[in-house]
Structures are given as C-alpha cells and as structure tokens.
C-alpha cells in the first residue's frame, strides 16, 4: 500500500527557509505569491493490506520520528 505523511510547520512558527524561498519567487517575478511555508513529504510503502493498521503505524511513525510536534503538524494519508 502506498501512503504519504506530510509534515508542515505550525502556524506562528518562524520559517526562515520559507521566507527566503518567498523572496526568491518574488525576484523571479512569479506573480501573486503572498507567502511560502516549507514542509516535508514522506512517501512510504506499507506491507499488508489493512488500512486501519497502516494508519495507526504511520501515526506512530509521525509522532515518534517524522515530525517534531513542538513545532510541526502532520497529516497521514493511505493512498491505497
């Protein structure tokens, strides 16, 4: 089963990398960019076909390693 964990910075946490990317997009002349926040995407292959079990495992993976929940939120998707 294919799955995806998306990790993003919580609102209010300063994101200097996102700011730098935002500045670069402006200097490239890309129109209409109001703001940029940088995050991470993990594409994960899960053994077995149990969706609920996969979701539980991914949640554990995100809580214990993939995200630092002091500053980051995450979203788990089992893509099937």
């Amino acid at each position: 089963m294919k799955a995806r964990v998306t990790v993003t910075l919580k609102t209010g946490i300063l994101d200097p990398q996102g700011k730098a990317i935002e500045g670069a997009l402006r200097s490239l002349g890309v129109a209409g960019v109001a703001s940029v926040r940088q995050g991470k995407v993990f594409d994960i292959e899960i053994d077995g076909g149990d969706r609920a079990q996969a979701e539980a495992a991914l949640k554990q993976a995100a809580d214990r390693l993939l995200a630092n929940t002091v500053i980051e939120n995450y979203r788990v998707e089992v893509l099937g």
Binding site: I13, L14, P16, N68
Partner: protein, 233 residues
C-alpha cells in the same frame, strides 16, 4: 570524574571534548558508541558532543536522539546523573525529550562560526559553579541551527524557574539584538531541565580551555563540573 562521551555517526567534536575533559579533570573519558544499550559502570557525567550526527538528516539530532544509547542516558538523567549537551548535543537532547524546545534554522539562514559572548545567569549549578553569576565569557560557536524556540508558556516557565543558564549578550554583558546572532527566543544560549542536572548549550566551551588558544573562558565549566563531582563522591 568518570565521564562518558557519546559517539554517533557524523559527530566531529567528540575528540575536542575528550581532550578537554582529560586536560581539566585529569581523567580520561570513555567513548561510548551509539549502539550501546548501557553506559560504563560508575559513569558520573555523560557528554553529548557537537557535530553533524547523521548529516543532520530529517532534523538536526532527530535520528541520534532515537539511538539505543539514548535510553540509557534517559535513565541516567532520571536518576539525577549529570548530562552536558553541546551544539548538536543540545539538538539531540531536545529531540530526545531531555530538554524542552527546539533549535531552528538561524534567523539569518547563515552558518555562524566565530567567538561570541555569553552571560552566565547563575553560578549555583554544577555546570556553572566555576563562574560568578553575571560574568561574561567568550566562547566559540559554530552552527546553522541554533535558534532556540519553544511555545511561550515553556519560555515563561524557563525564565520563571531560572533555567536559562547562558544568554547571548554584547561584550559588556548587556542584552542587544545585534549580539543574539541566531535569533534565539530571549537570546537563550543554554538551559537546564527541571531537575537541573541536564544542561544544553549551543556554543563550544571545550574549545576555549588552553592559554595557547588565547582565551580560556570555557575552562570554568569543566573545572566546576570536576569540583562538583569530587564533592559528590
């Protein structure tokens, strides 16, 4: 002193640390590989040194914080054992839950490698008894991710409980945003845990201990620790 210096893949300041511990305390530290599940018997100080464990993959210190040896360090700290965590070690300690908060990218996005000035906020800790409260020391720093951040409640608690031990200041000891070079909340450079036995700090006191270098301001930390442990023994 019976110290143990942890070694993770990608760490590169462990030998500076070991050299300083030997030089100041007189006893050779044990070098402990990350895959170990126990610390050497009789260890009274664990040092998590600086470097780039696992190439800073995922987040600085994130992978090292989940190494087997860190379970032993957590047990050791829970029993009151002293832990000194410097630079990447501070990042590892935060990721391992030994200290609150997180070290983000420096506000100016630059890796900063130079001497900086720290105010020693307290002298009544095992780590700072070699200094006077309010003293300003000059120590080197070398990091790209030392911007200390935590939620406002945690910052208020750290301040209220006197757990900020080192702060970035101007050479005359005054708070000045120009000298808070990495953008840390409240110019925080070093903190202790609730029990006061785990210290995390971004700068490198271990690199300023010999007169041949020109500055010996880091020596007080190791001399104080040696004394504190000798008294406790």
């Amino acid at each position: 002193m019976k110290s143990a210096v942890l070694v993770f893949p990608g760490i590169n300041r462990e030998r500076d640390m070991a050299r300083t511990l030997k030089l100041v305390s007189g006893s050779e530290p044990a070098m402990v590989w990350h895959a170990e599940s126990t610390l050497p018997a009789g260890t009274d100080l664990v040092v998590i040194p600086g470097g780039f464990s696992y190439g800073d993959y995922l987040r600085c210190g994130a992978i090292a914080a989940r190494a087997p040896v860190m379970n032993a360090v957590r047990d050791f700290a829970a029993k009151g054992g002293l832990v000194l965590a410097v630079c990447n070690g501070f990042q590892i300690a935060c990721e391992a839950g030994l200290l609150p908060g997180v070290l983000m990218r420096n506000a100016q996005l630059k890796f900063i490698c130079r001497d900086i000035f720290l105010k020693v906020e307290r002298s009544d800790t095992p780590f700072t008894r070699g200094y006077n409260a309010g003293q300003v020391i000059r120590v080197p720093t070398a990091h790209g991710e030392g911007n200390y951040t935590a939620d406002s409640e945690t910052i208020a608690r750290l301040e209220g409980e006197g757990r900020v031990i080192f702060r970035y200041v101007a050479p005359d000891g005054t708070r000045n945003p120009d000298f808070n070079f990495n953008g840390s909340s409240n110019a925080i450079a070093g903190i202790v845990n609730e029990q006061g036995n785990v210290l995390g700090m971004m700068p490198h006191p271990e690199n300023h201990v010999e007169s041949v270098i020109g500055v010996t301001d880091g020596r007080g930390l190791f001399a104080g620790l040696t004394e504190a442990l000798a008294r406790a023994a």
